[in-house]
Amino acid sequence: MEKEQILKDVNEIFCDVLDNEDITIDYNTSAPDIEEWDSLSHIQLVVAIEKHFKVRFTASEISGWGNVGEMIDCILSK
């Protein structure tokens, strides 16, 4: 799957999980950029992303993400 398509899919997941259809993310987006993105919603984001892309992350992988781009690189690496 192309990186651009993954970004689009992840953006939809962010809008759904964070209950805000106006969210637009890019590769540099990180938690401080989105008000609704806190530690609890992060859990739901990760679970939703794992379900959507049928991948599994490890705890150490996700703790290494600095932004959406690194999250997507991790998805691509699966």
């Binding site: 992060h42 990760v46 599994r56 992350f57």
Partner: protein, 129 residues
Amino acid sequence: MQKGDKFNHTFQVTEDIYQGFINIFNDRNPLHIDTIIAQSKGFASCVMHGNILNGFLSYFIGECLPTKDVIIHRQSILFKKPTYLGDILEFKAEILDFYESVNALEFSFKFIHHERGIVAKGDFQIGIT
């Protein structure tokens, strides 16, 4: 805990639970407290509050799992059949998935009456804290 683990428990909708729920939450809808009205709607007698079952679910998650270090993330329930005062319900739960990345577990569950079968079912997600 891991994927596929199964859990069982037995709950009963006692008078204390029924009255306690009413006194705490004040839901005195006729369906729950007026036998004539409940029967006019096709039920055998007063229908118990569905959210009593969510109370049982809270007990199960909080007290019956191998660890107390839990927090509920999400839960959903589908009410399929009425529950009546005095009902004894078999509760069955199974771990559907474990998300190691965020230390979260997803369960399915159902409440089963020996005659009416599955009276409610659903799923929930918990985090291990």
